[in-house]
Symmetry: C2
Subunit: 439 residues, 2 copies
């Protein structure tokens, strides 16, 4: 990535930049993790905060305002509750290890080793929990996140709707081979009309819509404006709800040929799931998963202007509760004394999707991976599978190492390809450390 | 109130009206309680709901959309959490009585008796809990409210900030005789500048600002637009935060002469309280009261565009939790095994404010009442004191009858003078019933 492209990306996605002179050229570099915390910058400090310290709907997706907003989404936009229910909190015993911070690994594409602790700053981690055999061996919070607070999970949300859809396929409520239009007639004339539910679940649809965050004309930005997830310009005349936008999407090629990561699939799937069950996504998620985990906190979901929950990326939860969900997945769906997700559903996810179709998408940091039920599946010797969200959100399940990592972050730019090099090898190193100490 | 004035009020405050021909004249009457439930009207039903069934920021304060929105505020506007904390839920045992629905009383200004059950519909009650000696003798939910859901409390919120301020006066953190400008220099040149904290606490300030909801030019509407609690017109150039608006208010006469109910006092007080403690209102409320009640649910508070909690009316909580707070007040601040609010603070509230100053405000349904620490105090033989919110929100404490009533409602028009006639005498009748059955 050239300096010029890099700057463009930062200017588009990032916000406040500091100028640094690098050799002869003038280059902009975002504030580092420590310098960009809300405390350090005084964001939302003071009653009321000074004008330049305010984070609200006008800037909440711009770095470094994201360092505050990602832990305070409900203070910025409308949200719907996903209740923890009234059951007891499930145990997640603390068994802190002191050998993790100093663990070293070599980032992808680098020849210089890095410590685990350094990687957290490199990734602008807001919080991270590592479970080993269900015990918290490592837990840290930075910036604005607190153990009892919720952080936006972005596309980790997709793995929830994907799991729910797979659960409904498993119990016969949903036919994965049916066309989307059977459940949602309103999508008949859209790109989704003749796609099957399965193609949507695995994102092998072919839709004329771009997820390129660096392109201000990309569909993903239009989508955000439709859902009022980002501000609309004056005189805006586009779609005014998530589902109104979905109906306008046109087909690009033939479905079922290649993996193409497009957020709109997740909301189309949510529409299908909600029609099949008659229940809003938030309610279904609460009923089938969240209220069964023994979560510590209620979670919540961003909604658009007609009350539709944003299944593509609007889920917010506490870090420990995200780890609980990861642990439930690691334990093949059995957690907190009950089979929450059918074993067959977890098995189907772990088996992965079509690797050759995935390869066509060209993810350099994810060789041999695939996408199944909206989970990212490594199909490596550890059988790793993960939920991934933009800006560094992760649920990382390593069955072989009996390890689950939940991480929230607010990386300055919206690209996991910049985050993976200092996180995936760190997770592998940690898995090896945990396995080695078992011996 | 004439038909014309009535219609104007309904048109301004209410929303959808049905036309009914009353004798020769054409009169508009709002849908009744049963006909206006979201279920009956199909509000927010369907995924997504049909355009005319959508409730969002454009209509959420218009009846009958209020029947849904008042139980779903966080799905419409930004809010901040007021956590219940991690303690056990405090007991509120059920001891249902079957003689309450049929209880009769005579509404103020009427000669026709009404049953308790009828009064709930007459008042568009969304939910009501009656505690007698701490036990739930009556509990009902209507419309969109559920036991585990939160409802907006409107001006009941004021009693929370008033109680917190009184607690801070009691512990010496706040000087009630100091001028507001000592704590908030930004208010020096406003109407609040030379008012004392005590005058603000008891709303005896004299401010050029109208709380007349029937007047579209009233300050209260400007205030709502400033806080973005209601939509702003295109090209809006007014204040863009609650506190920016407060700074522009001018004095009307002399402070300390008469009670004048103006919401801006509550937010000015919140600003003082937050400056005195260095903590946001939501955090202070959580720390000092909410997390100590053994509440069942987290509560939440509406915030403006700079993150300021709306102390004048933005609190949302579950009905049972509101009853818990009422019970704590009835028990002189001691509840859930601890002294949450100092006994002296509750005693000061129960003693009431200046009745002659209150009388000047001319509340026909509240003879002999007064206002103290943002509580309404009857000073009658039952020593009743209450928190009151527009559209029928109530925490009603009757120490003599050992009774607490918490009620949420969505009355079609914003005037308690229309609600009191069918509620206050009903509460008195119920108190007498409960006392009689003790004998």
């Amino acid at each position: 990535m050239s300096f010029k492209r890099n700057s463009l990306l930062l200017s588009l996605i990032g916000g406040l930049l500091i100028n640094q002179t690098i050799s002869a050229a003038t280059e902009t570099t975002p504030l580092d993790a420590k310098a960009s915390t809300p405390q350090q910058l005084g964001l939302m400090q003071g009653i009321p905060p000074a004008a330049e310290k305010v984070v609200n709907f006008s800037n909440f997706l711009q770095f470094p305002f994201t360092r505050w907003s990602f832990s305070h989404i409900r203070e910025v936009v409308p949200t719907v509750q996903v209740s923890r229910g009234s059951g007891a909190i499930s145990a997640l015993p603390r068994a802190e290890r002191d050998d993790i911070d100093s663990l070293t690994f070599t980032p992808i594409g680098s020849d210089k080793p890095m410590t685990w602790e350094q990687s957290l700053a490199a990734n602008y981690t807001d919080g991270i929990v590592v479970l080993h055999r269900g015990k918290r061996v490592y837990e840290r919070y930075f910036g604005a996140l607190k153990p009892e607070g919720q952080h936006i999970a972005f596309s980790v949300t997709k793995s929830f709707i994907g799991t729910l859809a797979a659960m409904l396929v498993a119990d016969g409520t949903l036919d994965e081979n049916a066309q989307v239009s059977r459940y949602v007639p309103e999508l008949k004339d859209s790109a989704f009309g003749n796609a099957t539910v399965r193609q949507v679940m695995d994102m092998t649809t072919s839709i004329d819509y771009s997820e390129d965050y660096a392109d201000p004309k990309a569909g993903v930005w239009e989508y955000g404006r439709a859902g009022h997830l980002i501000p609309r310009p004056a005189g805006y005349t586009g779609a005014t709800s998530l589902y109104a936008f979905l109906q306008k999407l046109k087909v690009e090629g033939e479905h079922g040929q290649a993996f193409a990561y497009k957020t709109v699939n997740s909301d189309a799937l949510a529409w299908v799931v909600q029609r099949a069950t008659g229940k809003p996504f938030a309610e279904l998620l609460q009923e089938r998963i969240w209220s069964k985990l023994g979560a510590e906190q209620d979670a919540y979901l961003m909604v658009d202007e007609v009350g539709t929950g944003f299944a593509g990326g609007g889920f917010n939860a506490s870090l420990r509760d995200m780890a609980r969900f990861g642990e439930a997945m690691r334990l093949n769906g059995h957690f907190n004394g009950q089979q929450i997700i059918p074993e067959s559903v977890v098995a189907d996810i772990r088996k992965g999707g079509d690797q050759s179709q995935f390869a066509k998408a060209g993810y350099k940091t994810l060789p041999g991976w695939s996408y199944r039920n909206m989970w990212w599946v490594a199909s490596n010797d550890h059988q790793v599978f993960t939920a991934r969200g933009i800006y560094g959100q992760t649920i990382y399940v390593d069955p072989k190492a009996e390890m689950v990592i939940a991480r929230f972050a607010s990386y300055p730019v919206a690209t996991n390809s910049r985050i993976d090099p200092t996180s995936l090898p760190a997770y592998t190193a940690l898995a090896n450390l945990l396995m080695a100490s078992d011996k």
